[in-house]
Symmetry: C2
Subunit: 344 residues, 2 copies
């Protein structure tokens, strides 16, 4: 299919490129009449300005980069990512931005950011999977490339933009809820605790135990990639202990599904024999029940977080001198069918 460019369109209209460009970009120094004529012709010939040429001229790429760390050992794309970009993508689309995804190995992170910056591929980036100690923040600040972090970095005390869930409070509340129900053997099935979010959840969990005067038992704490299999295996191990867990606090609904499998396989019932609270990102394909939530959960839409992060980033790009902005989302504690009083 043939595609017209500005020069040809201008020639076709008997106008200069300048005028056509201005007409299409809504500049005032062009009469309403010609603007309409230009618009009509552009529409008819299906003219779209070439992104690269436009970008070269304006110095902006109208694209946002998402950098996903993948440790070379287990190259997984977290399922919450899908819903996150669904939210972000909608915001981008509304504002005429494209979304480019980079899957980067842990070692190459630094280079990846430099490249993105030097090559000018994107106008800003969203940082995924921040760790408790993460040099990327400092590095990105140096680079002068606008960015927003999905999550936070505890080690970083200079200000930067982020969108995060109040993970600590969520898990604190969840733990307290379980201790109030009389549970004393509460297991924590957490994500990798090098990840910032997981460390915060851990802290919330510990605070909850402390509130109830319960000791921290490291045997009850597991920390791994949050797969279904992890939930299953960990639950089995923990229920087989001499002094077994009676409640599980789980970092992802995916692992919670694994816990449920282990529980049900033993002929036990969730909410009666074993209590489970999970964090629920409101994944579209793995919803927590329809009417009554299946799991009691700390709920926070990751899709919404994506939309928010995208918006913050676009604002930052529009106004580069603005101070870093933060958004702390509170998770709801929703009551489901997976929790109940501890057996006597």
């Amino acid at each position: 299919m043939y595609t017209m460019n500005l020069k040809e369109l201008a020639a076709h209209l008997g106008l200069s490129q300048t005028t056509v460009s201005r007409a299409l970009n809504g500049y005032p120094e062009v009469s309403e009449q010609t603007r309409r004529r230009v618009s009509a012709a552009a529409e008819q010939h299906n003219y779209r300005p070439n992104t690269r040429a436009k970008g070269l001229a304006t110095g902006r790429s109208m694209a946002i980069g998402h950098v996903l760390p993948m440790s070379s050992s287990h190259e997984m794309v977290n399922p919450v990512f899908g819903d996150f970009i669904a939210g972000a993508g909608e915001t981008y689309a509304r504002n005429g931005y494209d979304m480019v995804i980079s899957l980067v190995e842990d070692g190459d992170q630094e280079r990846a950011y430099r490249d993105l910056r030097a090559k000018g591929t994107v106008d800003g980036i969203i940082v995924h999977g921040p760790k408790s100690t993460d040099h990327r923040i400092a590095q990105l600040s140096d680079l002068g490339l606008p960015f927003v972090v999905h999550g936070r970095v505890s080690s970083e005390n200079a200000p930067y933009s982020w969108v995060d869930v109040n993970n600590r409070r969520a898990f604190h509340r969840a733990t307290s809820f379980l201790t109030d129900l009389g549970h004393t053997r509460i297991a924590l099935l957490n994500g990798l605790e090098s990840m910032d979010f997981a460390a915060r959840r851990r802290a919330g969990y510990e605070a909850g135990l402390t509130d109830a005067g319960l000791p921290l038992d490291l045997d009850l704490c597991r920390s791994e990639e949050m797969t279904e299999q992890f939930g299953y295996d960990a639950a089995n191990t923990l229920m087989d202990m001499p002094d077994p867990a009676t409640a599980f606090l789980v970092s992802s609904i995916i692992s919670a599904v694994g816990v449920r499998r282990a529980v049900q396989e033993r002929g036990l019932a969730l909410g009666r024999d074993i209590s489970v609270i999970t964090h629920d990102d409101e994944l579209s394909y793995l919803q927590n029940g329809s009417d009554i939530p299946q799991f009691t959960a700390t709920r926070s839409s990751v899709r919404y977080a994506g939309a928010q992060a995208a918006q913050l980033l676009l604002d930052k790009i529009r106004n580069p001198l603005s101070a870093p902005m933060n958004k702390l989302l509170e998770a709801q504690l929703v009551l489901g069918q997976s929790t109940g009083p501890a057996a006597k």
Copy 2:
């Protein structure tokens, strides 16, 4: 951080832009000595050619577009997408390509492709979620933009490039496996049957029934977005029928998890009271057991499919005149713990 451009680098070296450009791009008409000198300087100053400028000059964008249809009713990003792009992304990275994602509403599809083409954002695209009847193929062929389909389009008889799983055969075999075990009430929990892959699975299922001389009972066939909740609800309904299903053939491990939940909630056991076979895309976060597969399954790595599709597309871009290429992946039928002989 300061970034150098070609002009400055050339000036710094006391060479022309031509020579520097050629040195860096490996052209022969430059002496080894100067090439080394140039490379060293480029490395030292962290020079990366600007993507947009390079693209403008070469006419290529070094980016691949992934277009995800999202019906406006339920805007879901399929979880298999994550693993697919993990596979594709690796191939792109190795070849210096970027990956840009477009989330497009069903109505805007046509326009989205025109735009992508006219704006020159990408050199080729991967088409996701093809339907049995899908005009996008014809349209893309018209556009002259290289593309590869993840899946196929039954309505299309002109050749085009695709990567697909042999869904029909996989579900045929799975059905036969169940009938061989003596099951006569086999339910099909399928994806939306407007989707091509789902239609093919349906056909395989029907062929399997026919082979065994079993009638097609439409009450046993469900077709929806493949969520966990769908599996749960459908399983409950089908087990409550007067002449209930004793086996389930499920299109996604996510829905299979829902089926399992329904089964276990009733105190029934998978593989003994109820048989389940699911399709298993080998999702990294939802693996089908570790040593012994939990579910008997038709298995095919969607991550691998992503890598293959990407490779086909890059080949096509490199050699635009080549004939369309296809890759039909055979699913393995792996035996797990979720199937057993029908109860007498």
